[in-house]
């Protein structure tokens, strides 16, 4: 097999960049900022090269790179992308420079450490998406917690220490369960294949042959770990704390990429590795997803804090994604994939916007605002645009994802119950209510707070951050097939992998 | 019950009773004297077992050496005789229950066990055998004991120095 070096470069770039940052004098803050931005842009360019070389017709893994690592356990450094991971890699590399740019002035202390941790975080996230070896995957998955812990803990808000430890312990708990399941699966593989392996492609063949009872345990361990990350109701309680306390950049990355790792894990591991169990647990998990959609929306509605509102809206949006994944047909899963991207863009934009205004007023209380549309028109427009995207206005990105998911879940033979769709659809209405109501209270009406008259509108830098996001919001809304066709073949493969043993069982 | 049994029980009672008084008496000098009887009783039991060398060593070292040293220490130290050596918290009842249960278990186990026995005539003297064993089969242990004593000495010196 020919080794392709593009993905190793993709991982090395932020790593080397991060290490180099440590050698820059910490007082040259602007140099550090430019350097961090440049590194993340280089990473973005590499990911674009991968995108343009990617063959959409081939649903398998491409750009494979394998390097034997631990011979004793047959562990190798094995990376590659398929349609699903490519989209998420692009999302990551796209959001990272934007977050660095957005925190240009809001992070004014320990810039060096901040840039270092952001680049390490990017490395961890990319690693999670490109790993084709369970062991490698697990290392990236866990190692990524450490920079995130520090980002929330050092640059966060008042309750940052509590929030960061809660975040750390929640995710650690889930991932350790997954570790046990990974080892269990690998040990199982060693009895059926004759050797211990953590190679994902080989485990795809082993997974479906695991007896149902053991498979159920393994599935639950994996699903539990991913469900914490997503987060699926009722495991979501870490999320509002972490989101609210994290600095803007942290929130954007957390919402934009980290949560996607949970849904990515469900699609990449849970479904293909444990098809029988996935099908039997699909209704139960979908119920939780639908509860999450409605619960998240209702709780978001009563929030007084803008950031908390956006955080709870994430719970609702990710509920849609999980519902789509467990509907297990092409429309729904494709919708889930596109919704992952959408959520990254629109929630990312919302967090950036909340950050922009917080930086000026130092408050996120909705009641403090009012009537700012007259004072800062550009900002008000941007906020409206992002909100509408999040609501799912036709013509913008959110609509495509939610529509596909609802359509798919309606037709789903696995769920086989239209009530899932009915309840989930109500979530769309709630979303319109809480977001637009929030917008109304913030942007319209009388200016209650005299401080608001002093507000300055968005700077060029801030517009530069949001503009690319808005471009993609419109792009996906109008012409989604650019993105859908990337993942289509891959999603078909995954679904086939799920259905084959299921059909065999029915016969 | 022959004469040996009678002697054994005599020594056993002396050992046990005096050990009990060592722990319960409030006066440290009395405790030291009761300890003398404990050692003496143990030495007697060794004699009954045919372990003449150990019996003598027990007498010479423990009774003649350690105990005398202890008494000297007590007498040379001012006012130690009036020091209350009993601690305040005793927890007699739980301790008695715990120790009683464990002792019962031990007695049951030890009487029930088939011990490995070898039929052999008691040697007249064990000293020679011991000497040969220590310098041949257990030479390494013997040498190690020497180092142990050296370390103990150095440790004691280290504790005593200011």
């Amino acid at each position: 097999m020919e080794n392709n070096y593009l993905i190793p470069y993709l991982l090395l770039a932020p790593f080397i960049g991060g290490v180099l940052v440590l050698f820059i004098n910490k007082n040259k803050e602007n140099l550090i900022r430019y350097f961090g931005l440049a590194v993340s842009l280089i990473v973005f360019i590499i990911s674009l090269i991968i995108y343009f070389d990617f063959d959409n017709a081939d649903g398998g893994f491409q750009f494979l790179y394998r390097f034997s690592w631990i011979e004793n356990l047959n562990i190798s450094f094995y990376v590659g992308v398929d349609g699903l991971s490519l989209l998420l890699v692009l999302l990551t590399t796209f959001l990272t420079p934007l977050t660095l740019l957005s925190s240009w002035s809001s992070i004014d202390k320990k810039v060096k450490e901040f840039t270092f941790f952001m680049l390490m975080l990017e490395l961890g996230m990319l690693g999670v998406f490109v790993s084709l070896d369970m062991f490698l995957f697990y290392i990236f998955w866990e190692a990524m917690l450490i920079p995130m812990y520090f980002i929330i803990g050092i640059w966060g808000g008042k309750q940052r220490i509590y929030a960061s430890i809660k975040f750390f312990i929640y995710t650690m708990f889930g991932s350790l369960l997954m570790l046990v399941a990974i080892i269990w699966l690998a040990v199982y593989a060693s009895s059926s294949l004759g050797y211990f392996t953590t190679d994902l492609v080989e485990l795809y063949k082993v997974g479906p042959t695991v007896p149902k009872t053991i498979q159920n345990y393994m599935f639950l361990a994996f699903a539990f770990s991913f469900a914490i990350k997503v987060p699926l109701f009722p495991l979501h309680t870490w999320l509002p704390d972490a989101h609210v306390e994290a600095p803007t950049a942290g929130s954007v990355i957390l919402a934009g990429v980290l949560l996607k790792m949970g849904t990515y894990g469900l699609l990449r591991f849970c479904l293909p590795l444990f098809p029988q169990s996935s099908i039997s647990f699909a209704p139960a998990i979908s119920v939780l997803a639908v509860i999450g959609i409605i619960y998240g929306a209702l709780v978001a509605m009563v929030q007084k804090d803008m950031k908390k509102l956006v955080a709870y809206s994430s719970v609702a949006h990710l509920g849609f994604v999980v519902l789509g994944i467990f509907a297990m047909n092409l429309e729904a899963v494709q919708g889930a994939v596109i919704q992952m991207i959408n959520h990254g863009l629109s929630t990312g934009a919302l967090f950036i916007l909340v950050g922009v205004i917080y930086e000026r007023t130092h408050t996120r209380e909705i009641s403090e605002y009012g009537g700012i549309a007259k004072i800062v028109p550009i900002y008000a427009f941007a906020l409206l645009f992002a909100s509408l995207s999040s609501v799912g206005l036709p013509g913008l990105n959110g609509f495509i994802g939610e529509f596909l998911i609802l359509l798919g879940s309606f037709k789903s033979t696995v769920l086989n119950n239209i009530w899932f769709t009915v309840f989930a659809a109500s979530g769309v209405i709630f979303a319109a209510v809480y977001l637009l109501w929030m917008y109304q209270r913030v942007a319209f009406g009388e200016v209650k707070n005299p401080m608001m008259n002093e507000l300055k509108d968005m700077t060029k830098r801030e517009m530069l951050v949001l503009l690319p996001i808005f471009v993609f919001i419109v792009w996906i809304g109008i012409y989604p097939s650019t993105f859908l066709k990337v993942s289509e073949k891959t999603v078909r493969n995954i679904l086939e992998q799920v259905e084959t043993p299921h059909k065999a069982e029915l016969k | 019950m022959n004469i040996y049994d009678a002697i054994f029980y005599l020594f056993a009672v002396v050992t046990g009773l005096s050990a009990f008084f060592v722990v319960t008496t409030r006066n440290i000098v009395y405790a030291a004297f009761f300890l003398l009887f404990t050692f003496f009783g143990v030495a007697g039991i060794y004699v009954l077992l045919g372990a003449d060398f150990i019996a003598i060593v027990q007498l010479i070292i423990y009774v003649g050496g350690i105990l005398i040293l202890l008494l000297f220490g007590v007498m040379l130290t001012n006012k130690i005789t009036s020091v209350q050596i009993k601690t305040g918290t005793l927890q007699i009842v739980p301790a008695a229950v715990g120790v009683g249960l464990f002792a019962g278990f031990l007695i049951a186990v030890l009487t029930y066990t088939e011990w490995k026995t070898v039929d052999t005539a008691l040697p007249l003297t064990t000293t020679e055998f011991l000497g040969v064993m220590l310098l041949q089969e257990y030479l390494v242990v013997f040498e190690l004991l020497g180092i142990l004593l050296l370390i103990a000495l150095i440790g004691a010196a280290s504790i005593a120095r200011r």
Binding site: W69, I70, N72, L73, K110, Y138, I139, E142, A143, I146, Y149, G153, I154, R160, I161, S164, I165, F168, I169, M172, F173, L176, L179, V180, I183, W184, A186, V187, F196, Y217 | F105, L106, V109, L110, Y112, T113, E114, W115, K116, V118, E128, V132, L135, Q136, E137, Y138, L139, V140, V141, L144, I147, L148, L150, I151, I154, G155, A157, S158, I159, R161
Partner: protein, 502 residues
């Protein structure tokens, strides 16, 4: 009767490491007497003799034989790669500890007693080397006593504070009781079998056996003595107080070397005495005398849970590390509970890694205490920004102790979990995992104090000398590198699994 000690003279080359250490003891005593004013010679002599001993221990990786066997018996010592590995751990820890001692302000305070200090350390080493390869209960007892006696004195060495003397006295009393109990157990075993040699006992009890209550009693009594050394619950009560009171180098030493010796002894005792056969996959078939698996699993779960939960409330770093060391004893015991060579491999890997990370953690605690005179967590506030090297290192050591990738501690846990799952002990694995989550909380609490709490104006800036930097890196680099590339350590461990006779 004729004495023939030729057999010993012929086999002296099997105990070269022990001989070198014995000679060093004498050498140190004399050097201390002769060069009364030049105390800095002592650590140099110690380091050199450790290196020589290390060379001879490496030789032992190629040996697999009994040593010091008088005619007609099996031999007092078993020289094998398994023992050689644990001897290496002990020697490595000793080497690092002597470097610690050079830097420790606590030890410097009592510089007039350095001769005693190094003699006692070497007494401990000698005891441990013998404990590790002893195959005879008498030798085991005597060498354990040598080890204990030296460590009692060392625990109270500085005599600066009340807690120091308290540590020493507590250690002495608990140690005395547990070694007495162990001796009682040994005497019972001798009473049943008529032998003190582990290998002979094993062949004497091979005949089909029913669970024998006396044997169980004796084994548990002996386990008490060993459990005390490895600080497994419920024999752990001394650990927090002694760890807190003893000078930091000695605390670190007890947590690695003394524990390694105890584990080597425990494994040898269980495997050699009770084994019936080993199947092709490396699982041990033990004699049906005592259910070691259940027993060890219970002890280990107790140790992990107790250690981790008690550590949650600690504010003193040394006490925290004490409870963490109890918890780690629990994890290590799981490797034994598997009763397989795979589990043994996991223990060996765990120890190799544990030595680096735990010594590292203690080193940083010591360097900080040298400056601030305190091990209280509140005195660590904001150090992350004033003393970056120390804090980053401490953070990495603690992340490794938690068992998070990409540090070596993860590999240690990984192999443990592999062994457990391979033996289908999933429930136990999950309990261990839950414990790891609990432990995350208290390890991360230290990180919180270092980095998340704002630095005060009076937060000290702690400089690190060149020697200390080297020492830190010596422990830090393996902790990181073995987390990424652990083939060498696994290959090394595979060699070390071989225990004499099996």
């Amino acid at each position: 009767m004729e004495l023939s000690i030729n057999y010993i003279l012929n086999e002296l080359n099997f105990i070269k490491p022990e001989l070198v250490i014995s000679i060093s003891i004498v050498l140190i005593v004399f050097t201390d007497l002769i060069f009364d004013k030049r105390k800095q010679i002592l650590p140099v002599i110690s380091l050199i003799s450790l290196l020589i001993t290390g060379y001879f221990v490496i030789e032992q990786f190629g040996m697999n034989t009994f040593a010091i066997a008088p005619a007609g018996s099996k031999g007092m010592l078993a020289v094998d790669p398994f023992g050689a590995f644990f001897k290496m751990v002990v020697l490595f820890a000793s080497f690092i500890i002597i470097l610690f001692s050079i830097n420790s302000s606590e030890i410097k305070l009592s510089s007039d007693r350095h001769g005693e200090y190094y003699t006692l350390i070497f007494g401990m080493i000698l005891g441990m080397l013998f404990v590790i390869s002893a195959a005879d209960l008498i030798l085991i007892y005597i060498s354990l006593e040598l080890l204990s006696l030296s460590s009692y004195v060392l625990a109270g060495f500085t005599k600066q504070s009340l807690r120091n003397s308290e540590a020493s006295l507590k250690y002495l009393i608990y140690g005395g009781v547990s070694s007495g109990i162990m001796l009682f157990g040994i005497s019972i075993i001798y009473g049943i079998t008529g032998s003190t040699n582990l290998y002979e006992i094993n062949s004497l009890i091979q005949a089909p056996q029913l669970p024998n209550i006396t044997f169980i009693l004796a084994s548990i009594l002996i386990f008490t003595g060993i459990g005390f050394k490895i600080s497994a619950a419920p024999f752990h009560f001394w650990t927090p107080d002694v760890y807190e009171g003893a000078p930091i180098p000695i605390t670190a030493y007890l947590s690695i070397a003394s524990k390694a010796a105890g584990f080597a002894l425990l494994i040898r005792f269980v495997k050699v005495t009770f084994i019936q056969s080993i199947n092709t996959e490396g699982y041990w078939q033990l004699l049906n005398i005592i259910d070691w698996k259940t027993f060890v699993v219970l002890i280990s779960i107790l140790s992990m849970t107790l250690g981790n939960f008690a550590a949650l409330w600690q504010n003193n770093l040394k006490r925290l590390l004490a409870y963490s060391s109890i918890a780690h004893a629990g994890y290590l015991l799981l490797g034994l509970a598997v009763l397989s060579n795979q589990g043994l491999l996991a223990i060996i890997i765990y120890f190799a890694i544990y030595a680096f990370m735990n010594l590292g953690a203690f080193l940083i605690v010591m360097l900080i205490a040298n400056k601030t005179g305190s091990e209280d967590m509140d005195d660590y506030n904001g150090l992350g920004f004033t003393s970056p090297l120390l804090s980053v290192s401490l953070a990495i050591f603690f992340i490794s102790l938690t068992g998070l990738p990409p540090t070596a501690g993860f590999i240690a846990k990984l192999y443990l979990f592999i062994a457990l799952i391979d033996a289908e002990m999933i429930t136990v694995a999950v309990i261990a995992l839950l414990n790891t989550v609990v432990s995350l909380y208290y390890y991360v609490r230290v990180l919180k104090h270092l980095y998340l709490v704002k630095a005060e104006p009076d937060t000290p800036i702690i400089g690190v000398s060149a020697l200390n930097t080297v020492l830190i890196l010596m422990l830090l680099i393996p902790t990181l590198v073995f987390g990424i590339y652990f083939t060498p350590i696994v290959d090394f461990a595979k060699v070390s699994v071989s225990l004499l006779g099996f």
